[in-house]
């Protein structure tokens, strides 16, 4: 599909290694993530795709260390620049957050403190990480605001989130994320809730800025098409498992996991008509209680007894193409 110059260097920036996360709920423990592993190289844009409930956001929050109280990391490592974020002190982690790795949220309006001027909010981040005198800090804020293409930054500095449109708010959160020029940004559904035309602009902005600052980006989205458009590599998640990772073009041309294939088949795109839109049967399994080794088992038409009895291993099935399935294509 698309031909791109590899702009990534080979050093691994983020490596999530066999990460498992559980949530304690009223009706039992939800095993939200199980043995999730993937990595991300400096400057790379990787998409994590999956339907709601697949654990995408949990993965993002776990990486940032901002899981809800109910959530608990039961095993695994999160290596950022070869440092395990799960082992370092909270204060050290705090130092890294916002400075070396930052996050862009869905629903930007909710992600901003509603009663604080946006300029001050950006300054708060600078204050936490950059040792700048107030005047320079303010200048840096204005610089950031114009960087994210907000017109008239000195006026917007004093604006409150409610005075801005959704798209504008998202630009502000991008500015917040980029304030300290982090090496990694995790964008969690950054375009959900925005107007179609704004979505495109916001995504363009993110990838442009990532390219400019050589920032690695983890794009979390349910929109396969969107991920395909902007990402170098894709990680497909289903029910707390990573089922497949591959370069974007490989994944689309040769999906190896049945779920990936079905997901692609179910996604509308301009070339498909209704007859070629194939639904995926069944629902996501309940992540409480007993589950088969393969969580896609009940929805899969290639399932075999192995799926219940043999633990899944990730297999390398091509250049950088991994799949976790006993009966993959």
């Amino acid at each position: 599909m698309k031909e791109m110059q590899p702009k990534t260097t080979q050093e691994t920036l983020l490596a999530v290694d066999r990460l498992s996360v559980e949530f304690a709920t009223r009706r039992g423990t939800v095993r939200a993530l199980e043995n999730v592993s993937f990595d991300l190289k400096a400057g790379e844009i990787v998409g994590i795709v999956g339907e709601s409930g697949s654990g995408k956001s949990v993965l993002a929050f776990a990486t940032m260390g901002i899981l809800d109280r109910a959530g608990k990391i039961t095993s695994g490592r999160i290596l950022f620049d070869n440092i395990d974020l799960l082992q370092i002190k909270r204060s050290q982690l705090r130092q890294k957050r916002g400075k070396e790795l930052s996050m862009i949220f869905q629903n930007p309006r909710a992600a901003l403190n509603p009663i604080r001027k946006i300029g001050r909010q950006i300054e708060d981040v600078l204050q936490a990480h950059a040792n700048l005198p107030p005047k320079q800090r303010r200048e840096r804020v204005l610089e950031l605001l114009s960087l994210v293409r907000i017109s008239d930054p000195s006026r917007r500095y004093n604006a409150y989130p409610y005075e801005l449109s959704g798209g504008m708010c998202q630009r502000v959160t991008i500015a917040l994320a980029l304030a300290c020029s982090p090496r990694l940004a995790i964008a969690d559904e950054p375009t959900t809730g925005l107007d179609v035309t704004t979505q495109a602009a916001v995504m363009d902005l993110i990838v442009d800025l990532a390219a400019q600052t050589h920032m690695a980006t983890l794009l979390i989205t349910h929109d396969l098409e969107l991920a395909a458009q902007y990402c170098d590599r894709l990680v497909v998640m289903h029910a707390g498992h990573i089922v497949e990772t591959a370069k974007t073009s490989d994944l689309f041309q040769h999906p190896r996991h049945p779920y990936t294939a079905k997901l692609i088949a179910a996604t509308p795109d301009p070339e498909k008509d209704l007859a070629h839109l194939i639904p995926i049967p069944g629902n996501l399994p309940d992540l409480r209680g007993e589950l088969p080794f393969c969580r896609f088992r009940d929805r899969c038409d290639r399932a075999s007894s192995q799926c219940d009895t043999v633990p899944l291993e990730r297999k390398l099935v091509g250049n950088n193409h991994q799949v976790a399935c006993h009966n993959h294509f």
Partner: protein, 340 residues
């Protein structure tokens, strides 16, 4: 959306309050006239003959029809005359002016006490929901709101004055020998400081402790509850997540980000609590011989003394209106979205 200027907003709010003010005037008038007993019979003296009673009735204008009495009352009201209390023998205005600060000081102290205890409890509970601390705080505050204030008051007096003797006697705002500070605000704590009389301040403070606690205990629950709930909501909100993911310090997140946002519903509740306590402190005033408007109103009501009851109700209604106004303005200061 159009924004209004603050004075416009205030004016608009005051205008909007007129119907309920009229309602209050009418209802309180009717209510007092329905009180049993004849004030004339009481105030004509025990030995009064029917003629003497009739004469008092005439002096008091009680022999006129309700409608006539009402218009006379309204006329006097417009001229700023609230009448004379037959029980205290003073003009109602004088009584209210001298007694209102006592009630306000007590109520404010009660709310302040509640705030100081309940808000940290609520925050702690919100930081660890469903922990033992959360349950304990809920237990304590709920127990507090379950105690009838008069019972709490008596109990506290019994324990802290009678048994332990660590607080002064429940004889009002000052001990028997002290005279009140010069009148600036009517709040003894403030006035004594203004006068620089620290001794008097201490005395006033000691006398305020038990009644304020009695009152405050009653307000713990709503405040702690709303603090907990709104802190939990705010702490779970996206912008706190974002602040965390941006590595802001926990203090900054807790206070500048979370608490200031959580403050909005807390302020609303404070307003409700304040106006509620202003009414509820009647019983506390009675127990502690607190010379406030609550005990004044009770006395007047029992004696079918119309003017003070009406004056009291009007005062409270206006306080209520101004309180709400003040809260809206405060809201506007904290929350830019509220705007005017």
């Amino acid at each position: 959306m159009s924004k209004h200027s603050t004075p416009q907003f205030i004016l608009q709010r005051l205008l909007a309050a007129i119907p309920s003010a009229i309602g209050v005037i009418i209802v309180s008038f009717i209510m007092t006239r329905m009180l049993p007993g004849d004030p004339a019979a009481f105030f004509a003296g025990a030995s009064a003959t029917p003629e003497a009673i009739a004469q008092v009735q005439e002096t008091l204008g009680l022999n006129k029809s309700w409608i006539e009495q009402f218009f006379i009352y309204i006329g006097e009201l417009i001229r700023g005359n609230l009448g004379v209390s037959l029980t205290t023998g003073q003009t109602v205005i004088y009584d209210l002016v001298t007694r209102l600060p006592a009630s306000l000081e007590l109520t404010l102290a009660g709310v302040l006490f509640a705030f100081i205890i309940a808000v940290p409890l609520g925050i702690l509970a919100a930081l660890k929901p469903n922990s033992w601390l959360d349950h304990l705080s809920r237990f304590i505050t709920t127990a507090g709101v379950s105690l009838p204030t008069f019972f709490t008051g008596l109990l506290l007096v019994y324990i802290f004055y009678f048994l332990l003797g660590i607080v002064p006697a429940p004889v009002g705002r000052l001990d028997l020998l002290s005279s009140p500070p010069e009148h600036f605000t009517g709040f003894y704590l403030l006035d004594s400081l203004i006068r620089g009389d620290f001794n008097l301040f201490v005395i006033a403070f000691q006398h305020l402790i038990l009644p304020a606690i009695t009152l405050g205990i009653f307000a713990l629950a709503p405040l702690a509850r709303i603090t907990r709930a709104s802190m939990i909501t705010i702490l779970g909100s996206d912008f706190i997540r974002l602040a965390k993911s941006n590595g802001l310090s926990p203090e900054k997140i807790l206070f500048t980000y979370a608490f200031r946002n959580a403050l909005l519903p807390i302020i609303t509740t404070m307003g409700v609590v304040f106006s509620f306590l202003l009414g509820a402190n009647i019983l506390v005033e009675k127990v502690f011989a607190w010379p406030g408007i609550g005990s004044y109103a009770v006395e007047a009501l029992i004696n079918s003394d119309y003017a003070p009851v009406q004056g009291f109700v009007l005062t409270m209604a206006f306080l209520y209106i101004f309180l709400n106004l003040a809260i809206d303005i405060l809201y506007g200061i904290i929350d830019p979205r509220a705007g005017f």
